[in-house]
């Protein structure tokens, strides 16, 4: 029985949650300080230990270079992607390029891959669960945004392995939320999950038929989230400050962090109280050495105007999802809001207006995903629980063709698991291997899609060109992860498959990371937080941005 438990982990951009099922009910687990939302922040301390969670979040400012946050924005991405470029501009930690266009984080002189960073967050979640249960845990269901592509899912799964977890399932966050809502409720409904998280936006439309949860369609935007709301406030604060003092706060990463924290708080305050007072003491000093404070007041109206276009963008995504499901907003029976930013009145009002429906009450938008993950983990472990999730693939699967184009193999919103075969032939006499590139995306141009990898097949019969037929099977499994295999059509001989280009980690890398992760000690407690005031002597010196 010892290994008969599996936890559900919501690995979020800004906050993570861990949950288990106790007596048939999902419970979100607190850490030793009673916190249930744990910041997805990893702070590498001088003594070699690693601090994860809300206490690490305090280090974002004080130990900016060694504290990594929002790693989920970078996981499974290529170094040349826009998101990585954007992160390099604003993140205080060092982002460097690794092998194969991969992204690495440099902390002191140590390089970490993104799965390794996420694995530390998962390790913390695992530790919280183990402490709560008083026994080891090694199985988990981990959630990802529905719109994650194969690279990102694969990387998340790797992170789980590195953290010593057997990842039973990579579950889509909206699907998890729907599961938490519909589990054991015996409903027959069409529900919309509006999931506005810290870094991503997802919308999924599900049809719940008792114990079958069928995703009709999903759509999303991996570049839209609560952070973008903060960005708007930051821009406004910085512009305001610039106009008044001619100092550009954006030139210092330290000031940016102060700004970010202030903006986040302002966003929350505006949502709760209708107005927010921003006060950043000692944010910087000017050329003459005078220390400045940042003060501002943000009203609800101002805020709404700042972020209106972002909110509008979410409904474009909703349009897309409804269209794919061939439904209209009126066909929807219930709307479930997921993610912290959905607490904002502007979001709630807009959702109400768009769907002409009151969003469901009584659902904790921060925890519902973790609860769904726990329920799924429980269902997988327990033969008696019967819930069946039928998810879809969020992106079309494509193969590269000549001239930088792609051809679609599996359409988006196809239910998974699914496989599809395509026959290829050789183009030269005596050809011994065939290569294909696999992409995900909605464009027929290869450079507008995300490349998943290059597969090389060998070991088939050698013959004249055009004679040898190789049947390549593309499979998307229940995790939404793509597998490719090939066989000689005539002989049925399975060919060998090599991935010659990929963004992922090699098996050797993972094994090494697992060891390293096991040796890393998690720092407990807030003792490591630097006492306030110590960092004051490193106040940045801002050059005057505008001269006379």
């Amino acid at each position: 029985m010892a290994d008969d438990i599996a936890i559900g982990i919501d690995l979020g951009t800004s906050y993570s949650c861990v949950s288990i099922v106790e007596n048939g009910e999902p419970v979100v687990l607190p850490n030793e300080w009673g916190e249930v939302n744990h910041a997805s922040v990893v702070s590498f301390l001088e003594d070699g230990t690693v601090l994860v969670g809300n206490s690490a979040k305090r280090n974002i400012i004080t130990r900016a270079e060694t504290t990594v946050y929002s790693a989920k924005r970078l996981i499974g991405r290529y170094f040349f992607s826009d998101e990585v470029k954007k992160a390099m501009a604003v993140m205080p930690y060092r982002i460097v390029e690794g092998d194969n266009n991969s992204v690495r984080i440099q902390v002191r002189d140590q390089l970490y891959s993104l799965p390794e960073i996420s694995a530390l967050v998962l390790k913390e979640m695992k530790a919280i669960a183990e402490q709560y249960l008083g026994r080891p845990v090694n199985k988990a269901v981990v959630t990802v945004p529905a719109y994650f592509n194969d690279n990102q899912r694969q990387a998340t799964k790797d992170a789980g392995r590195i953290a010593g977890l057997n990842v039973l399932r990579i579950l889509n966050e909206p699907t998890a939320a729907a599961l938490a809502y519909g589990f054991g409720r015996d409903v027959n409904q069409r529900v919309v999950i509006y999931d506005l998280g810290g870094g991503t936006f997802d919308v999924s439309i599900l049809e719940i038929g008792k114990d079958v949860f069928e995703v009709l369609s999903t759509a999303g935007d991996t570049y839209l989230g609560g952070d973008d709301f903060d960005d708007r406030i930051m821009t406004w604060l910085a512009d305001d400050f610039l106009a008044r003092t001619r100092l550009d706060l954006r030139q210092s990463k330290y000031c940016l962090q102060m700004l970010k924290e202030a903006a986040e708080q302002a966003k929350i305050d505006v949502g709760q109280k209708g107005t927010a007072d921003v006060l950043c003491q000692n944010i910087c000093q000017d050329a003459s050495g005078q220390v400045m404070d940042l003060r501002a007041t943000l009203s609800q109206d101002q805020f709404n105007r700042m972020v209106m276009d972002l909110v509008q963008r979410t409904f474009k995504v909703c349009d897309e999802a409804l269209q794919s499901a061939r439904l209209t907003a009126a066909d929807v029976d219930a709307v479930i809001l997921v993610g912290g930013p959905t607490r904002l009145p502007i979001v709630q009002n807009s959702v109400r207006h768009y769907f002409q429906k009151e969003p469901l009450e009584g659902i904790n938008p921060d925890q519902v995903v973790a609860m769904g993950a726990a329920l799924q983990a429980h269902a997988l472990m327990d033969a008696r629980t019967e819930t069946f999730l039928v998810d879809v693939t969020p992106l079309s699967l494509r193969i590269g063709t000549v001239g930088g184009y792609t051809e679609r193999i599996i359409e988006k919103n196809t239910p998974v698991p699914i496989d599809r075969s395509k026959t290829f032939t050789t183009s030269r006499d005596g050809q011994e291997r065939v290569k294909i590139r696999v992409y995900q995306g909605e464009s027929n141009r290869a450079d507008e899609c995300e490349m998943l990898g290059e597969f090389e097949f060998a070991g088939f019969r050698v013959g004249y060109r055009g004679e040898v037929k190789i049947e390549v099977t593309f499979e998307i499994n229940t995790d939404g992860i793509v597998n490719v295999s090939a066989a000689d059509t005539e002989t049925g001989q399975k060919t060998s498959t090599t991935i010659s280009l990929s963004s992922g980690l090699t098996e050797a890398d993972i094994q090494r990371s697992i060891l390293q992760n096991r040796q890393t000690r998690l720092a407990r407690g807030m003792v490591h937080a630097v006492p306030p005031g110590t960092s004051r002597d490193v106040l940045p010196d801002l050059p005057s941005a505008v001269e006379g």
Binding site: K85, E207, V390, G404, I418, Q431, V434, G466, E471, K494
Partner: protein, 466 residues
Amino acid sequence: MSEPPDKPGSGAPDSPGETPRKTTTQPLAPVDPSEVQEAGFETTGTFRDTPLPGVPKLDAPFPPAPPPGPKAGAAPPAGPPRPAAPRTALPRPGAAHGQATPPPRPGQPPGIGAAAPAPPPVPRTPTREQPAAGPPRTPTREGPAAPTAGTRSPPQAPLGSPTGEFLTEQARASGPAPQPGVVPARVFRPTDTPGKPAVPPLPSLGVNIAPVIPPLAPVKAGPPRTAAPRVPHRPTRDPMSETSIGIPVVPPLPPAEAGGPPPVAPVVPPVAPAATATPAPGDPESQVAWKAERLDTLDYFELLGVPTTASAGEVKRAFYTESRAYHPDRFFQLDDEAFKTRVHEVYKRVTEAYYVLRDDVRRKKYLADVSGPDRASKLRFDELSEKETIAQVKQQAAEQIGLNPKARQQFQTALGEIDRGNFVAAERGLKMALTYEPQNALYKEKLTEVQARLYEESRGKAFKIK
């Protein structure tokens, strides 16, 4: 470029016997030019725009990042859980394209062959010529075949106008009632067959199962759906299975729409006694084994256990029922990997069936495919590629009224003149239309028609004068 991309299917080299000594662009070329032309034409707008706004969005105080686009360079094998094999370098990476058409690009996979969507030797059913139980069966199967074909053609009519909303609405209205149509499919399980061991555990997911299946599948391309797959296993009960299976697959009542379950319900009784003969209807293992064996001989309707006339609501309910039975999560905690692989295999086909049947357009095409003569090769839906779909739409438009607006206008006027009986004017109009579009078959056809009428008229006149 070098060939007109008129025929979308011409990509496959049709004659394998011909030794490709000539340096013509046979294998690759037919795919390339159309690909390039079609796609290039469509996306020029976005293609030009994207590089500009994408990159410099941020005020970049950072060193210029490498240009987007995957670098094709030295890449050690990566990607952990995928099957990895020692990588060997390609002998001549760039030499794949001896053709003149496209200059080989550095990042392009050199070995990629022309995708052959429908090659003459069909991959799924390569060696179906099994002597096993073929000869005696064929005549019996010919019998029910006729009514099958007869009843299958009208299903479009009772389907009504199944728009997505309407049907799913229906599905909800009727709720998750147990789908009786499914029962026969699974209950009809010859557990006594040596079939189960005959299917060795598949080495991996998603691999061609064809070589495993042939001994069990003496289905020839010709005769359409019957109880064919079951026959070889239960020779003694042949007539019985003929009748009992014949009913669920082709319900004799065409108005299957009238109510969800009724048309399917009468199916259950005849099968139930048979089920008592074949043991253990509740045992999931044998259920899966039974279905896994027949995976390549069942069409999607049989797989989901619905009649070809089933409404979208029925399809959905059947899919839910099948999901409850074959969802891999149901067997997640089992240790038998081979069995789990088989479940996966079955369930993948179930989702595939649902994917095809829930969409009216795909379903229509599929129904036509499996009702046709080469049913055996079309049991799995072969989706047209985007390129082919576009070509098809264009061709249809061209066939109907023409592509050139002026030609279309002339043609319409000519049609009006024909209605008015003014054939001389109609001939003139059609000839004008043909000058704009000399290839249009419809115009030509109309023109010959009109000219025939004119000829008749002139003869009539001549006769009168006499």
